[in-house]
Structures are given as C-alpha cells and as structure tokens.
C-alpha cells in the first residue's frame, strides 16, 4: 500500500489486510505511505487481532514521519511491531521463527 491512506481507501485497506494462512508471518510494507489517518489505525488493529487469533506474527514497515507520529499520538506505539525498513522487519520475523 502506498500514497495516502485515508477514508477514501478504507475498503481497499480492509480487503488487503487479511490473514490467509495461519502461522505464516506477515510483513505489511507501508514504506510507500505518505499520509495516513485513523482509518488505517482501526484497520491495523482489527488485522492485528485477527493475526493474533491465528498465531500469525506481524511486522509493519512505516517510514513516513507523519504516519509514525500518528501511531504515537493514538497511543498505539506499543501495540504493533514497527520497523523502519523492510530488511529490518524481515530479519525480525525470521528470528521469531527460529526461536
């Protein structure tokens, strides 16, 4: 997902953020997102809960400062595993699988 994640794109976000294979780690690459509002936060929370129910580890890649601060302002910084790059997120997910 990239560009602006706002109310306009809720249906698309909802369609993309789904848990298809129980157990397989999911990397959500949001590095191309330039703007996000609380629409995406609500969808990420729902997705995170769904993933936890299926024991699926999730890593988010968030680069844009606006998006990172949005997560902080909403008090959700500790609710997600957030990384600044895809490599970092992938490494974390792989390490989790080896434990």
């Amino acid at each position: 997902m990239d560009g602006e994640l706002d109310l306009n794109r809720r249906a698309e976000i909802r369609e993309i953020l789904r848990v298809d294979a129980p157990g397989s780690p999911i990397l959500v690459d949001l590095s191309g997102v330039m703007y996000a509002d609380s629409t995406i936060l609500a969808e990420l929370l729902r997705f995170h809960k769904e993933a936890a129910e299926h024991a699926v580890p999730v890593a988010l890649v968030i680069v844009a400062r606006q998006f990172a601060r949005l997560v902080q302002y909403a008090g959700l910084a500790d609710a997600f595993s957030i990384f600044a790059s895809v490599d970092e997120a992938r490494e974390n997910l792989l390490m989790g699988r080896q434990r």
Binding site: L7, S38, A42, Q66, R69, A74
Partner: protein
C-alpha cells in the same frame, strides 16, 4: 494593525472532498511559512476532524457542506472544521478510530461546539510566522 492571512473553503462533505481540502491546507501552511514538522502535525489533526465530519455528520441524511476556516496569528493558528450535521465522536465507538485522541495530542486547545451542527476548533502553536 497587521493584516493576517486566512483561508476559508466550503465543499460537500465527502471523503474525496476532505482529501482535497487537506491538500489545500498543506499548500496554505507551506505558503505562510509553517515548518514541515508542524505541517505534518496540523495536517494530521485537521485531517481527523475532516474525516470525522465526512463520515458521520450527515449519516442517514443528504450530504451537506463541510467548511474549513483557518486564521493565522503571530505565533499560532486557529482552525475550525464546521458542518451542519450531527457530531459523533469516533473515539466512543468500540474498536473504531482515534480521531479526537489524536487531535487533542497535537493541538494546544480543542473545543467542540454542537449548536446548529458541529464546529471543531483547534488552536496550534506554530512559533513566529512571517506572514
């Protein structure tokens, strides 16, 4: 007396429109010399108020208007998001958004006036502005 800048936009309250209004706001903030970090934060807060109005103000009724009004002070910015519909705080819906929590975390002052619609007033510290 100094003539300060201001911005006023009134459009139908749709998700597409709120995005366009947000873009105009960012261009305005850039033009008056608001720094990038503050622009990001102000866009975030105002974006939440606009989204809240577009999603809820005219639920179950014909879509009405949404208005953005910005008044520039020497060291602050006063932004009103106004609609003529019903105010529903997204924070109060379980599992839903965090709109007002985010707005309150960013703005110095926030007030909501529900007389004859809803006016969300946000005041932001900006530091000295050249305009």
């Amino acid at each position: 007396m100094t003539n300060r800048s201001h911005l006023r936009i009134r459009r139908p309250a749709t998700p597409n429109t709120t995005r366009a209004i947000r873009h105009v706001l960012v261009a305005f903030l850039t033009a008056i010399g608001v720094d990038e970090d503050s622009r990001d934060d102000i866009q975030t807060a105002v974006g939440e108020a606009l989204a809240n109005a577009a999603e809820h103000a005219y639920e179950g009724t014909e879509i009405g208007q949404i208005e953005l009004a910005v008044e520039v002070g020497e060291n602050s910015l006063c932004v009103d998001v106004i609609d003529e519909g019903n105010f529903i705080e997204r924070d109060r819906r379980p599992g839903r958004g965090f709109g007002l929590t985010i707005v309150r975390a960013i703005a110095r002052d926030v007030s909501v006036d529900r007389r004859g619609g809803t006016r969300v007033r946000m005041v932001f510290d900006t530091g000295h502005l050249p305009v």
